[in-house]
Amino acid sequence: MTHRSNRTLRVAGLARVEGEGALHVRTVDGEVDRVELNIYEPPRFFEAFLRGRDFREPPDITARICGICPVAYQMSACLAIEDACGITVDGPLRDLRRLLYCGEWISSHALHIYLLHAPDFLGFPDGIAMARDHRALVERGLALKKAGNQIMDLIGGRAIHPVNVRVGGFYRVPTADELRPLAETLRRALDEALATVEWTAGFGFPDVEIPHDLMSLRDTEGYPIDGGTPHVSTGLSFDVTEFGSHVVEHQVPHSTALHARLDDRTYLVGPLARYSLNRDRLSPTARQAADAAGLGAVCRNPFRSVVVRAVEVVYAVEEALRIIGSYRRPDRPSVEVTPRAGSGHGATEAPRGLLYHRYELDASGRILGADIVPPTSQNQTAIEADVTQVVRSHQHLDDHALQSLCEQTIRNYDPCISCSAHFLDFTRERA
C-alpha cells in the first residue's frame, strides 16, 4: 500500500553485505521518524585481544578481522607499530606492500561490483540469478577477482589472511621471475577492468547527492592505498597522529559497531571520498575511463560508487603492473624493528575506506593498548542519513520497492559489518 502516513519497514537480515545486519525504518505522518542500521553481529573484542601481546603479532591477529580485506588490517597495523618504533619502510619493500594491497583492492572490488552490487542495478535478486542471464559478465568479474587473488597468493602466501606479512616488511620476497606470470594475467585484467567501467557507467542511477564531509588519505604521490595523510573535503587536513582528536567514536544502542563523527560532523570514507579528493592522482588511463563514464571532478552520488570502484580497479591493475615492471628484489625481506615505549598511528585505505590503527607499547614491545577504527563503523551515520534521504524522497514507492531501494543504498557502501562490530564498553572507558 502506498501513500500511507505511517509505515514501518524491517529488513531482518540484509542480503549481499559482508556480515550480519538489519535495517529498521519508521515513518510517522509522512515524516521519517527513525532509521536504524542495526548491526547485531556479536562484538569481536579484537582490541582487547591485542593487549598484552607482542608488538610483532598485530599483522597476523588483526588480519583475522576480515576475510575480504585482511591486507588492509595488516598494513595499517604494520604502519602503526613501525611508527611507534620509529621505523619507516620505504623503497622496494613499500612497493611490494602496495602491490599486495592492489591485489586486495582488485579482488574485493570485483566481488562487490559483480556479485553484490550489480544485481541491484540489473534487477536480479542475487549474483547467481544474474549469472544465469549474464554468464559472460559474471565470468569477467570472477576473472578479475582471481587476478587480485593471484597477487595476494604470490606476495602474501595465500589470498585469505596472508601469512607473509610482518612488521618491517615480509618473511620472504619474490624473485622477478616469480612476478612475471602475474604481469601476463594483469594485462588481460586491465582490459576486463576497463570494460567494467564502461559497463557500470551504463547503469541507471537515482538522482541523489550526499552532503556529508568526505575524508580520505592523500599521499605524496599516487592514488592513496597504503598510506598518506587524512584530508577532508572541507579543506582540512591533519597528521594521522591527530586522528583521535578529530574522529570521535560513540556508542548507539542499536549497533554493536561504534559510530563516529569527524569534528562533530557526519562524514564518509571510501571510494567516493578517495576519488573526489584524489582524482588528479589517478593514472591517465583510469582518469580517462572516469571521464568517459561521466564521473566528473567530484562524485557525491553514492549509487555511482560502483563506477568509482571500477575506476579504482583499473588504477590498481595498472599500479600492480607498474610495480612489477620496475621490480628489483630487495636485498633483505624486512627491516629490523626494535621496540620502544610509546604509541604509534597508522592509516591506510581499505577497499571500503580509511582504516586507522593505534598501538601503545612498553619498552619491551608489549602492547598496552590498541584502537582500531574500521571504515564501515565510520560510515554508519552517513549510511543512516542516506537511507533517511532516500525514504523521504521516495515516499511514493510501495513498501517492497522502497525496501529494495533502502537495501541498495546500504550496499552502495559495500559495508563490512564483521569488521565494524568490535566495540567493547571498557574500550571506551579507557579512551
Binding site: A15, E18, G127, V138, K146
Partner: protein
C-alpha cells in the same frame, strides 16, 4: 580422469573442521586434496579442471548422530542473506549458472556435535575421519593413481 577431494570448513569451529581433516587424511595417502572455507568463487577455482569432485563438509542435524555421514550428489539450498552464509549449495548453484559444475560431484555431509569456538574435533567426529577417508579412497579408485598437490 582428474579427481579432487575438497574439505570444506573452519578448523577454528570444532567439528566444522571435519572436512579439512578428511582432506588431510586423503592427501596423506597421496591424492589431490584441497581445503576450502566454502567461498563459492574459491570452491569453483579449487575444482577447476577436475572431472570428479568429492566435497566433504559438516552438517548440523536435529537430532544428530555425530560422525554419521551422508553421501549425496545434490546439496540442499537454504536461503542465506549475508555473503558470510554462502557455502557449498551456493557454489554449486553459481557453477551451474556458469556451466562450470563438475561432471561428477559427490558430497559427503558429516553430522557434527559441536561447531562452537575452538580447535579439535569431538570424539565421535574424530573417530569418523579415518573411516570416511578410507571410504572416499575406496569409492574413488582413480584418486590413488594421481600425484598429490601440495
Amino acid at each position: 580422469m582428474t579427481t579432487v577431494v575438497i574439505g570444506v570448513g573452519n578448523e577454528f569451529r570444532r567439528d566444522d573442521g571435519v572436512g579439512p581433516a578428511v582432506a588431510r587424511a586423503v592427501a596423506a595417502a597421496g591424492v589431490r586434496a584441497e581445503i576450502s572455507d566454502g567461498d563459492p568463487v574459491r570452491l569453483m577455482e579449487a575444482w577447476d579442471g577436475a572431472d570428479v569432485v568429492v566435497i566433504v563438509d559438516a552438517v548440523r542435524c536435529t537430532p544428530s548422530v555425530p560422525g554419521r555421514w551422508h553421501r549425496t550428489t545434490l546439496p540442499h539450498t537454504i536461503p542465506v542473506a549475508s555473503s558470510h552464509g554462502f557455502g557449498v549449495p551456493e557454489a554449486v548453484e553459481l557453477a551451474e549458472a556458469l556451466d562450470r559444475r563438475p561432471e561428477n560431484l559427490v558430497i559427503y555431509a558429516v553430522e557434527v556435535a559441536d561447531s562452537g569456538f575452538g580447535t579439535g574435533l569431538s570424539p565421535a567426529v574424530a573417530a569418523a575421519v579415518p573411516r570416511l577417508a578410507a571410504a572416499v579412497l575406496t569409492g574413488f579408485p582413480d584418486l590413488t593413481n594421481q600425484a598429490a598437490v601440495p
